[in-house]
């Protein structure tokens, strides 16, 4: 599932590497005062990649709450991982004369035409973790980016601090450009931090069971490995299960176990962090992303949108897990969002 989600934004990491981090408060756009600047009744449609995914549901819930708070009419259309369905949904949104359309692009090559149609109809298109022709502004989640000092460098620093000069295994999903770039980003950061990436595997199943098999195999070859980095939480949990089945402990910020981290901030991953089965997970703050999505849509309509808006992600470890608030319980407002912008 996440495989396809992650397939969007092929040049994501590289593109963002070149961006400035901007300021915590975007110039010329104060979210707090922006609430008053929303035009009630604005029709906002979102072509979601797959509504069944928990992270997407959190994103959608955030966007719905934000839209409701400003009197917008927000509708989510499920593409169910099918680019053809996504195009049909955007066609429907054009016919319904939406004021602004958001899209998490499934296939950049297939959607250029429909984005152009939206543009011709006078409807701006916002990308979510997607950019390219026809997209006027993009909302990024930091955990998917490769900015200097960002999540990948911070993760590498954690591995290096726990096991200086240690050996690392990376679990990716080869052939998915955005994941490949994040894997490369972490690998470069790990190498720079003095770590050695002894092996890389591709979890083609995109699920915990597949990662467990792969990591279990590699642990027989590299029994002294100090860390396993995974591109998502499912793979990290599979790696964690393999580590524990091999009779090892997982690093919990205080012991000398194997460092295992993931990305997604899934509920089961946070539970695993709390139980000491996972060192950490990057929470992309999906509900906040939904709120920021609505704010960005308004900025686009006002003509003041930055080209790139990056929402801060949060690294959840055993030391910070007590501060973690489940997505459904978060009290979010526009002025509480933590993001940076760049043009």
């Amino acid at each position: 599932m996440r495989k396809t989600l992650a397939a969007v934004g092929a040049a994501l990491a590289l593109a963002l590497t070149g961006c400035s981090t901007g300021s915590a408060t975007p110039a010329g756009a104060d979210p707090a005062s922006g609430v008053a600047g929303f035009e009630p009744g604005t029709k906002f449609g979102f072509a979601a990649p797959v509504a069944a995914q928990p992270g997407q549901q959190q994103f959608d819930a955030g966007a719905q709450a934000a839209a409701a708070s400003v009197g917008w009419d927000y509708t989510m259309y499920d593409s169910n991982l099918n680019p053809s369905t996504q195009i049909s949904n955007i066609t429907t949104m054009i016919q319904q004369q939406m004021d602004v359309i958001g899209s998490w692009t499934l296939d950049p090559g297939a959607t250029v035409g429909i984005y152009k149609q939206a543009e011709a109809a006078g409807i701006p298109v916002i990308g979510v973790n997607s950019e390219g022709e026809g997209i006027q502004a993009t909302l990024w989640q930091e955990s998917s980016t490769c900015a200097p000092g960002g999540p990948m460098e911070q993760s590498a620093a954690l591995y290096a601090e726990a096991h200086p000069g240690g050996q690392i295994i990376t679990v990716g999903l080869d052939g998915v450009p955005s994941i490949d770039s994040v894997v490369k980003c972490f690998t470069d950061a790990a190498t720079a931090a003095g770590l050695t990436v002894v092996s890389h595997v591709s979890n083609t199943t995109d699920q915990a069971a597949g990662a467990q098999r792969l990591v279990a195999d590699l642990l027989t070859r590299f029994p002294e490995v100090d860390g396993v980095w995974a591109y998502n939480d499912a793979s990290a949990l599979g790696a964690s299960a393999a580590v524990m089945a091999a009779g090892k402990t997982v690093y919990d910020m205080s012991n000398d176990g194997v460092v295992v981290t993931g990305t997604n901030g899934d509920a089961d991953a946070v539970t695993a962090v709390r139980e000491g089965r996972l060192t950490g997970t990057w929470d992309p703050n999906n509900p906040q992303a939904g709120w920021l999505f609505v704010w960005l849509a308004n900025e686009v309509l006002k003509g003041t949108a930055p080209a790139s808006t990056v929402l801060k992600s949060t690294f959840v470890t055993k030391e910070s897990v007590d501060e973690y608030v489940p997505p459904a319980d978060r009290q979010i407002t526009f002025d509480a969002l933590d993001y940076t912008t760049s043009n």
Binding site: A216, D217, L219, R221, R277
Partner: protein, 350 residues
């Protein structure tokens, strides 16, 4: 059905030279397993030479443990395929039964209730499918295809698509110990696998049901005319497949310390491939548990070897597909050779 499967008995009176050749052939023949066993041996030799840890006990037990879920599903599929059918729902049933176990553990039920829950769920799934196929007379493909969707959807619905984390729940400890524990150097899972294999082989080879299964798979109409209750046989076949999915669900949750809502898209085809690589005929009526065990082992060794050798994931499908075609192809060529020999001898005698 043994490893030294004999070629068909030839009606012609053998000369002493023929008898000697036949003895040699009996000693050397591996029957329908020839292709896969030779290939497996070649792969093992290669990996032993190139990967020093390949033959280590730790790696061997790792291969067994990593493939236990696949073995259970493939054993269930073996019964279905020998009956002349196919079960498209097994991977979804794995997810669904795993989620049932996850929900049970999350609810804090006692361990024995939790352990029973996926098994019962699997049996219910098999029972409903069996009834729909045998007594409502809906096509097997349609029923299992429908259940593939329903069960995958069920697994997503019950926890909103999220994995159920069961580590630390009261009933999980015995399951975790069972799946990850060992008796001395021997993993409990290896012992469990051996018991299941023996039980499946016994049912298939030494029970009336097993013999009826082969008869029905060879020719359903002839089996029915000979008094075999084919509807009941199909029902039992799906009960066994459901039981296998339930056990696989339990092992999967025990290994992952969680119940994953999403089905692994590769599981179904891998299970069927293991059965076919093991010499079970896709047309039914021929096959066995030993072949399936060899098929699962072979795919497991290949997977392990490719990971250890760091062969890019993109090539793994090519390797697995080639092996499937080669293994089945060798069996087909062997069968053709037997038929040609029979024809030649019949002509000679005639």
């Amino acid at each position: 059905m043994t490893l030294l499967d004999k070629d068909p008995v030839l009606p012609a009176e053998p000369t002493p030279a023929d008898a000697a050749r036949t003895r040699r052939r009996l000693r050397l023949s591996l029957g329908r397993y020839t292709g896969v066993v030779v290939a497996l041996a070649a792969v093992c030799v290669y990996l032993a030479l190139t990967q020093p840890i390949f033959l280590s006990w730790g790696n061997i037990t790792n291969i067994v443990a990593s493939n236990s879920v696949m073995l259970l599903l493939a054993l269930g599929a073996t019964f279905v395929i020998i009956s002349g059918g196919i079960d498209l729902s097994s991977a979804s049933a794995l997810s669904a039964t795993g989620m049932v176990l996850g929900l049970a553990l999350q609810a804090g039920v006692p361990a024995w209730v939790a352990i029973a829950s996926p098994i019962l769920a699997g049996l219910v799934i098999g029972l409903v499918q069996g009834v729909l196929i045998s007594y409502v007379k809906i096509s097997m493909i349609v029923v299992t295809l429908g259940f593939m969707s329903i069960l995958a959807s069920f697994a997503l619905i019950v926890n909103s698509g999220a994995t159920i984390s069961v580590y630390g729940t009261p009933g999980f400890e015995p399951i975790y110990e069972f799946v990850n524990g060992s008796v001395g150097p021997v993993p409990l899972l290896m012992i469990f696998d051996a018991v299941v294999i023996l039980a499946a082989a016994f049912v298939l080879r030494y029970t009336t049901f097993g013999r009826s299964l082969f008869a029905m798979g060879s020719n359903p109409e002839a089996a029915r005319l000979n008094g075999i209750n084919t509807a009941m046989v199909v029902l039992f076949v799906f009960l066994i497949a459901g039981l296998a999915a339930g056990l696989a669900g339990m092992v999967s949750v025990g290994r992952l310390t969680g119940a994953a809502a999403a089905s692994d898209p590769t599981v179904l085809m891998t299970a069927i491939a293991a059965v076919l690589i093991g010499g079970t005929a896709f047309t039914g009526g021929e096959g066995g548990v030993l072949g399936t065990v060899i098929g699962v082992l072979f795919l497991g060794v290949i997977q392990n070897g490719m990971t250890l050798s760091e062969i890019p994931a993109f090539w793994q499908g090519t390797v697995n597909g080639t092996i499937l075609i080669l293994a089945v192809g060798i069996a087909v060529l062997r069968d053709r050779g037997i038929r040609l020999r029979r024809k030649a001898i019949t002509t000679k005698v005639g």
